[in-house]
Amino acid sequence: MNIYVYAFRRILYVIPVLLGVCLIIFVLFNLVSPDPTLMMLGKHANLKQMQELRHELGLDRSYFIQYLDIVKSAFTFDFGRSWSTKQEIIEMIKNGAGPSLTVTVPAFLVALIISLIVALFVAFYRGSWFDRIAVLICVALMSIPSLAYILFAQKILAYDLGLFEISGYEQGFPNFIPYVALPCIIWIVLSIGPDVRFYRTVILDEVYMDYVRTARAKGLSETVILFKHVLKNAMIPIITWVVIAIPFLILGALLLESFFGIPGLGGITLNAINSADFPVVRAMTVLSAVAYIVFSVITDVLYTLVDPRVRLK
């Protein structure tokens, strides 16, 4: 099937998925979420003002009308304004996405390259002391909580040694670089452990295949076998792992942004949930769902490029 036709058909799945997502978040909001009027009016809330506010927010309309409004905003990407900050939600997301991406994208790319290289070396020296030490280091890196890395790095590397900025952010390239350097490094260190272990497993699965034994029998070097044959065949699970992670880069890293004072999207959903800010929760949920579908289509398409045996149906 033509790639474009396939992609178009898959993207059409967005429609039923969004309808379902809207229904789920609407039901959850009405069942579980605290009263937003109390949150917004605070300690001086009185019944009359709460009723007036409910009217202004449209919460006194029928459930069906409210649901239709939610569906309309999901398909038009017009999410209105935040109930708690009164800011336009799309602007909030745009303003926050940039800083989040300045941390997550370079960190993600560097972590990916390092992890792949290390995983290939580890697979090359499989069974040896190098392999065992590498796995041990990965497990150790994974065992340390992210907060520990942040506290240590900020105190020692930034404050005591003065190698990095303690916190803060400046808009524009290259102004933000001094501020995102340390958060990026922390993200890379956090990612290496689980990534290397995953890539190593995937590569080793391929290394024990018959075609590898055949390639060795034909006299090919280990380097050629690993980098030309094994890596290519291992790409499908790697692509899945990598591409599906991409849409979530935009959400940033809550702890990193919070400790380093980066005005990203990391806390936006959590803050919105805590303050019963339904429009923001709705916006972030819808955008996440759409991004997930789009990138899963990209994943499928990339499969065909990597493995000609894969056919799109």
């Binding site: 605290p34 009263d35 937003p36 109390l38 949150m39 917004m40 009016l41 605070g42 300690k43 001086h44 809330a45 009185n46 019944l47 003002q49 007036e52 506010l53 202004e56 304004r81 708690s84 900050t85 009164k86 800011q87 336009e88 602007e91 909030m92 303003n95 926050g96 370079p106 790319l109 560097v110 390259i113 290289i117 506290l151 900020q154 105190k155 930034a158 404050y159 003065g162 190698l163 990095f164 900025e165 303690i166 916190s167 803060g168 952010y169 400046e170 290259p174 670089i177 001094p178 350097a181 340390l182 490094i185 919070s258 400790f259 004072g261 980066i262 005005p263 803050n271 805590n274 019963a276």
Partner: protein, 586 residues
């Protein structure tokens, strides 16, 4: 190979450019920090102290608190003088200062800010009452000004609110004369005019920017901020057209002794820029302060041990860096409220028993590093009505007396007393406080069940009177004991501010009398009586009055921790030479 080169280049860039840089400047810059994101700079939505402090850098109101006087004293700001008050206390007439201009903005003809008039206050207060805007500050004037509630109610169902409609109690008599007529005698009304909800905003700017007005603050204040961007850093610059406003030339004795009149008579603001950084976490705030990147900081809970000695004085390490410690009581009170609609708590001896079993000193050590003041009653120190020498006979810890009271209440060793629920917010510290309360009550045989709630759910339970006991705190909206005593006033029962539904006719009568009195020795005497009654009746188990422990660098001048920070930045000064000398050593 290519990939390896890209990788090395990226790492090199990160490491090289990551090195810290210092920027030298001859500008006086205040570096402040806040612990929560700023929502926006529209005054009618500035219901949290963070937003309200930012609003007050750009906007001004009729009145403000004298910066160097305690107890807090209202003084004119945009008003020429304190108002003329009619004999019956219902009419307040203000003269507005002439020659005060709004900041320049494209919304004005020619981009030049125009002169402030009395009509601007009429407009601004109507905005506060506008039912379509649903200001979170409307409670301040709800039911206070003649005709304002009626105007609001008449506009609820209209498509567009009619601002041209006159309001009997809110008039611009002429260009510079503003008159308020109240519905009832309310001496605390003047405090409303020192709050950021009632600052002056220009109509043409609001109409020009529409819903984006909250990101384009245009006031008459000492600093300007052309655009508010949702960032973690806000930079204000000195208003070049700020009217002539001078640093105070008089002060309370404690501030005179500290040399706070060195800048007396100087033109405000004293600095060129204010940089406000949002840092929610304690560690980066603490580290930035120690590096000299922030001028002052409230000591984070986990850093008390390193910042202070066991006797609560400044540690040598910080003192050597020239850092100074300031301690100031907060106008607040923490407490555990009984729901007096529950028949169980109509038993005064039971309430007293529980109060006597609660070790407030231990609680102070556990949750406030021993820095708070155990509360004897409802009014905090710093407000008329508080007595320094008073100790409540019903405060813990006195287990023997508690058990005796419990027996007299009809529950010897807690026998026959059902389990009592204690509701609290869902934070970690609130839960710990709940568990501590539970363990204290177990000492006399009172069984407690701790129930955590998201904040809105707790408020709902309080409003619906379905709680039994709950832990909460109250911070002053204004420095008047009425703001605290009204929490125990019967007619204020839920859904009003009296969440405990305490209803004592004697208390009610005395409070109603005091509430309409102007500040006077007679009113103070009534407040003291009410405070003593509130202590003796134990409608709540009193907790603490918290204190601010704030550190500031030696180069920061005129700093005072205050419950009403709005507008403080204009009075602060930076000694550049000292900053340069001290910073080098940090």
């Amino acid at each position: 190979m290519k990939l390896a080169l890209i990788f090395l280049a990226t790492m090199g860039l990160l490491l090289n450019v990551g090195c810290t840089k210092k920027v030298d400047s001859s500008e006086k810059v205040l570096n402040l920090v806040v612990t929560a994101k700023i929502k926006g700079l529209d005054p009618i939505y500035a219901d949290d102290r963070y937003s309200s402090n930012e609003v007050a850098r750009v906007y001004e109101g009729l009145l403000e608190y004298h910066y160097l006087k305690r107890p807090y004293t209202l003084v004119p700001n945009l008003a020429e003088s304190l108002p003329e008050v009619s004999a019956d206390g219902f009419t307040y007439t203000f003269k507005i200062k002439q020659g005060v201009f709004f900041h320049d903005d494209q919304a004005f003809p020619g981009g030049k800010g125009r002169e402030l008039t009395a009509e601007d206050f009429v407009y601004s207060i109507k905005r506060l009452a506008d039912p379509k805007l649903q200001s979170t500050g409307w409670w301040l004037l709800d039911g206070k000004i003649k005709g304002l509630n009626e105007w609001r109610d008449s506009n609820v169902s209209k498509a567009a609110v009619d601002y041209s409609e006159a309001i009997e109690g809110l008039q611009a008599v002429d260009k510079y004369t503003l008159r308020f007529v109240l519905k009832k005698n309310f001496p605390q009304f003047l405090y409303s005019l020192a709050m950021t909800f009632t600052v002056a905003v220009p109509k043409e700017v609001v109409e020009f920017y529409g819903k984006e007005f909250l990101n384009h603050p245009v006031g008459t204040g000492p600093f300007i901020l052309p655009i508010f961007e949702q960032s973690n850093k806000i930079t204000y610059t000195k208003n070049p057209k700020f009217r002539t406003k001078l640093f105070p030339s008089d002060a309370s004795d404690e501030y005179k002794k500290l040399g706070y009149l060195d800048d007396a008579g100087k033109t405000l603001p004293l600095v060129d820029k204010v940089v406000v950084t949002v840092l929610e976490e304690d560690q980066p705030r603490w580290l930035n302060f120690q590096k000299g990147n922030l001028d002052y900081i409230a000591i984070p809970k986990d850093n008390f041990a390193s910042a202070l000695t066991p006797s609560r004085t400044l540690s040598d390490d910080l003192a050597k860096k020239g850092i100074q410690l300031m301690i100031e009581p907060s106008l607040d009170v923490t407490y555990t409220a009984f729901n007096h609609e529950n028949p169980l708590f109509k038993n005064i001896k039971l309430r007293r028993a529980m109060s006597l079993a609660y070790d407030v000193n231990k609680s102070n050590e556990l949750f406030y590093n021993g820095t708070a003041l155990p509360a004897q009653s409802v009014i905090p120190p710093g407000i008329a009505g508080y007595r320094h020498d008073y100790l409540s006979p019903w405060r813990g810890l006195n287990l023997e007396k508690a058990k005796q009271q419990l027996t007299e209440a009809g529950y010897p060793n807690g026998k026959g007393l059902p389990e009592i629920t204690y509701d609290c917010p869902s934070s970690t510290v609130s839960r710990q406080m709940g568990e501590h309360f539970k363990s204290q009550m177990e000492q006399i045989g009172v069984r407690i069940k701790v129930v955590q709630n998201p904040w809105p759910d707790l408020q709902k339970k309080i409003n619906n009177k379905t709680v039994q006991t709950y832990g909460i705190a109250w911070g002053a909206d204004y420095p008047d004991a009425e703001n605290f005593l009204q929490l125990l006033y019967g007619p204020n029962k839920t859904p009003g501010a009296n969440g405990s539904n305490y209803d004592n006719p004697v208390f009610n009568e005395m409070f109603a009398k005091a509430a309409i009195m102007q500040d006077s020795p007679e009113r103070t005497a009534l407040y003291e009586k009410l405070n003593l009654m509130a202590s003796d009746e134990v409608p709540w188990i009193y907790g603490v009055h918290r204190q601010s422990y704030v550190l500031h660098h030696s180069w920061l001048k005129n700093y005072i921790p205050t419950d009403f920070e709005s507008g403080q930045a204009q009075y602060l000064n930076v000694d550049l030479a000292m900053k340069k000398a001290v910073s080098a050593k940090l």
